[in-house]
């Protein structure tokens, strides 16, 4: 298990008027038409909404392939894209429980529980 203290959180934007959450970037709230957000941290517990294994990536990722890409539905009410630190294909399925591990160079890294 990851050391909970060293784990980073997922950064999200919360509309200060209607509290709708967004995965950045977002500059104007599509629900209440205001443009005032706060950056908040999410715990990042959730489940797989859908996933795929990318086998023919574009040029910068050729060395990494194959790798799993998923959309994760966080318990806190936001869907975010992510990759996995543990690549065991039989465990990656829709509704599999996952935990956020870290955000690194634009990528949300999750761990299958």
């Amino acid at each position: 298990m990851e050391n909970k203290n060293s784990r980073e959180k997922i950064k999200a934007l919360e509309c200060n008027t209607c509290r709708k959450l967004y995965f950045p970037p977002k500059y104007h709230c599509s629900q209440c038409d205001k443009s005032d957000f706060s950056e908040i941290n999410l715990e990042g517990e959730g489940k797989v909404y859908s996933f795929t294994v990318i086998r023919m990536p574009f040029e910068e990722f050729v060395e990494e392939a194959p790798y799993t890409f998923a959309e994760v539905a966080l318990d806190e009410g936001l869907v975010v894209p992510g990759r996995f630190t543990n690549e065991d294909e039989k465990d990656i399925k829709i509704n599999a429980r996952v935990s956020f591990v870290r955000y690194d160079s634009g990528v949300n890294w999750f761990k299958i529980r």
């Binding site: 995965f23 890409f69 959309e71 160079s105």
Partner: protein, 391 residues
């Protein structure tokens, strides 16, 4: 609003056109359309050229004035490149339609052109990914096959569909393009060929995906009141719709609660059907955006031809075959005719015009009403157009 008709069409093959420059492809297709229409090129009052990746792949932009000069069009006209990812040229079709319908112009040339096969697959995949969000998706290594793979896995999860049902789209579309001389692929594939082909983005396999292609297609549009001056077989545009969706997959799910629909398709179809005063059951032939097998299934539901979750069964039952109740992609579609991305929208319209004239190589019997559907990005821009035999 006044009536608008297609009076001339032209196309290159959608293939590997290694010896042709992008400019030459566009000029060849446009020249054919202009000559077929029998219109004096000096009568053309605007020119829209759809193209998506030439800037990134070929380092060539500002295509439309270049092609317009080659074609000998007037200097005092708008010659504009239109970009909306894989939807680019049908956006140009809509702009041309609107300019004529509103009475601004009488004759407009619309086209699309794309050159892709000269570059490596990883480079093309990267160029196409420019329609995604650079921060959240491109850095994560997401691709367009990956996007449709997410839809496929979720569709299987929610509706219990099978990969064999998806594969039947590819089998059908390959069969349809055997007779289409413009198609990239002219051979049939079996169900086993599709399900045993190599994985591209799980669960999608190679034959679930459209091929990287070169090609160009063009249409001459004219006010319907003048169409008979040029042709005995005008094809009217009676509905035109467009919508915008989302730049990323997570935005789509967060805003709409599902990945199993492209909201922009639904919006475009609603507008087009309302404008034409028709419903999905009135359509005789469809060319829709089957960039992947699962895309044809989801599109067919979004356009209203089938209930949610029933698109896969419809393919299995043969309803979408050329002789079925609602023939989908008799040209071979993007999967087998090919997908030179910026040219695809005009290419679909080309195929429907031939169907409604009654001169298609894979003719749907007594086709009078046709629909085209073109999608760009992760459903970021979609169009729908409805055509009617005008003679």
């Amino acid at each position: 609003m006044r009536g608008v008709s297609v009076i001339g069409i032209g196309s290159t093959n959608f293939s590997v056109l290694g010896d042709m420059t992008l400019e030459e492809m566009a000029v060849r297709a446009c020249d054919k359309a202009i000559c077929e229409a029998g219109v004096d090129r000096k009568e053309i009052e605007a020119f829209f050229l759809g193209n998506y990746v030439s800037g990134v792949l070929l380092r060539q932009e500002t295509l439309a004035p270049m092609v317009a000069y080659s074609l000998g069009l007037n200097e005092d006209i708008a010659a504009i490149k239109v970009e909306g990812a894989c939807c680019s040229s049908s956006i140009g079709l809509r702009l041309g339609y609107l300019l004529i319908a509103s009475g601004v112009h009488d004759v407009v040339l619309v086209a699309g052109a794309e050159k892709m096969t000269s570059e490596s697959t990883p480079r093309v995949t990267r160029a196409l990914a420019a329609a995604m969000d650079p921060v959240s998706e491109i850095h994560t290594g997401f691709t367009y096959p990956g996007y449709f793979a997410l839809i496929a896995n979720r569709y299987i999860h929610e509706y219990g569909a099978t990969m064999e049902q998806f594969a039947m789209v590819s089998v059908k579309n390959h069969k349809n393009s055997v007779n289409n001389p413009r198609a990239r692929f002219r051979h049939q594939v079996s169900l086993e060929d599709v399900v045993n082909s190599r994985l591209v983005a799980d669960p999608l396999k190679l034959y679930d995906c459209c091929p990287i292609s070169d090609g160009s297609a063009a249409l001459v549009l004219c006010a319907s009141e003048r169409a008979k001056e040029y042709t005995k077989k005008p094809i009217e545009i009676i509905g035109s719709g467009i919508g915008r969706g989302y730049r990323t997959t997570h935005e789509t799910i967060n805003e709409r609660g599902t990945i199993l629909s492209l909201p922009a398709t639904v919006a475009a179809a609603k507008q087009a059907f309302e404008m034409a005063n028709l419903k999905p059951g009135d359509v005789d032939v469809v060319e829709l955006h089957d960039c992947f097998t699962i895309a044809e299934i989801v599109d067919s539901e979004d356009l209203g031809f089938f209930e949610r979750g029933e698109g896969a069964q419809a393919v299995e039952k043969g309803i979408t075959e050329v002789d079925g109740k609602i023939p989908i992609n008799p040209s071979g579609g993007l999967i087998s005719k090919g997908h030179p991305v910026g040219a695809t929208g005009c290419g679909q319209a080309f195929e429907i015009v031939k169907q409604l004239r009654g001169e298609h190589e894979n003719q749907v019997k007594n086709a009078e009403i046709g629909l085209t559907h073109n999608a760009g990005g992760t459903g970021a821009i979609c169009t729908a157009h409805i055509f009617r035999r005008g003679f």
